[in-house]
């Protein structure tokens, strides 16, 4: 691997690191695990980088590698998921921007999303990132119709978690 490629890759990743951080935030529960997953995703991105031809957007490519690593390749157990503390995971919500009830609602929502399974989380993540159903379907390897069906089920699931 030559120096140019290294420099190009690190610069691109540094500029787009938010994508990876967001995946890590959703799939891990503490800072150590976050860093660990970030590192594994970085390694996978770097290994796949020579094959990135630029026929898709770099961000699209990063979403795919990052999610694949989190869902499939990453090995650490996530046993503490039920007991983890919400505050330590999600960055603080600025109170002044929201009224009390909305803030409370958001907190509950984040907590509910964190309780979802790996696949459901991936769908929610891509939805939150404003991806359309075609891209969600392509990333996961399912049909667009099924992605919609699945998303509706997740919404119902979230509603049940929020209003038991």
């Amino acid at each position: 691997m030559n120096k140019d490629l290294e420099h190009q890759f690190v610069t691109e990743l540094q500029n787009n690191q938010n994508i990876v951080h967001k995946v890590c935030t959703l799939y891990t529960n503490d800072q150590d695990a976050h860093n660990d997953l970030f590192q594994e995703i970085t390694i996978q991105l770097w290994k796949a980088y020579p094959k990135f031809r630029g026929d898709s957007k770099l961000s699209t490519w990063m979403y795919r590698v990052a999610l694949n690593t989190a869902i499939t390749l990453y090995r650490k157990s996530k046993r503490s998921i039920q007991t983890q503390d919400y505050e330590s995971v999600i960055f603080k919500i600025k109170a002044d921007e929201y009224d009390e009830t909305q803030e409370q609602q958001l907190k509950l929502m984040y907590k509910a999303v964190k309780q979802l399974g790996d696949i459901d989380k991936a769908l929610v993540f891509l939805y939150l990132e404003d991806k359309d159903y075609r891209e969600i379907a392509e990333t996961l390897g399912i049909s667009e119709v099924n992605a919609r069906v699945k998303m509706n089920r997740i919404k119902t699931k979230l509603r049940t978690i929020l209003n038991p």
Partner: protein, 215 residues
């Protein structure tokens, strides 16, 4: 759903609160070793392909060969060894091919499917190996049953005087080999299924979930 759209707005506002890694931080990371499932499958598989072959270098296995020769199994073992190597080479080729097909750029479902397929190749190899081990133990038991000079070949192996009658010795040796063979096979199989069971539990669950969607 209004709540999820509310969340979406909030999620996108949060970008500023994410950690920021420096160029140096990221540069250091690209030289670290991966600890992905695929890496582990590769490591475990290499061990599984090599460990049985290392057994041949242990001296007791070598004297074991003399023992087989004495009980008249020499040619059977020679041909079995040739078949064994042919099969191992075939499995290594298949495994390498499958392993190369795994790409992190695939969609999630395909990626999982390929990992499971690669693991299946190893699983088939293990099942073959275990049956082979069982078969060899069985052959030895049969060889012992039909041999006439068991006492000589056996005392050559252990250098200890034997004070058992030939028929009794035969029974004891046969039973010992049969019991040991069964336990050995179960033990190896147990280790194998435990290793992969743990490694791929999460992946399999996720794969099933995606698969369920498509039916």
């Amino acid at each position: 759903m209004d709540e999820l759209d509310l969340l979406k707005k909030d999620w996108q506002k949060k970008e500023d609160h994410l950690p920021k890694l420096s160029y140096q931080d990221i540069y250091k990371m690209i030289w670290k070793k991966s600890s992905s499932i695929v890496k582990w499958i590769l490591i475990i598989s290499i061990l599984e392909f090599t460990i049985p072959h290392l057994l041949y270098f242990i001296p007791s296995t070598k004297s074991g060969f003399e023992f087989y020769e004495n009980i008249g199994l020499k040619y059977i073992f020679l041909s079995l060894t040739i078949i064994q190597y042919a099969v191992v080479i075939y499995f290594i080729y298949l495994f390498y091919k499958r392993y190369k097909e795994i790409s992190v750029l695939d969609d999630a479902k395909n990626l999982m499917q390929k990992i499971i397929k690669t693991r299946k190749t190893v699983k088939h190899y293990i099942i073959y190996s275990l049956s082979m081990i069982m078969f060899i133990f069985l052959l030895v038991v049969i060889g012992v049953y039909f041999s006439d000079n068991l006492i000589e070949s056996y005392s050559a192996l252990v250098d200890e005087p034997i004070d058992l009658s030939p028929t009794k010795l035969k029974k004891v040796v046969m039973a010992t080999i049969a019991i040991f063979g069964t336990l050995f096979t179960l033990f190896l199989g147990g280790i194998y299924f435990l290793l992969y069971g743990r490694l791929l539990k999460k992946l399999k669950a996720n794969y099933k979930e995606l698969q369920k969607l498509e039916v």
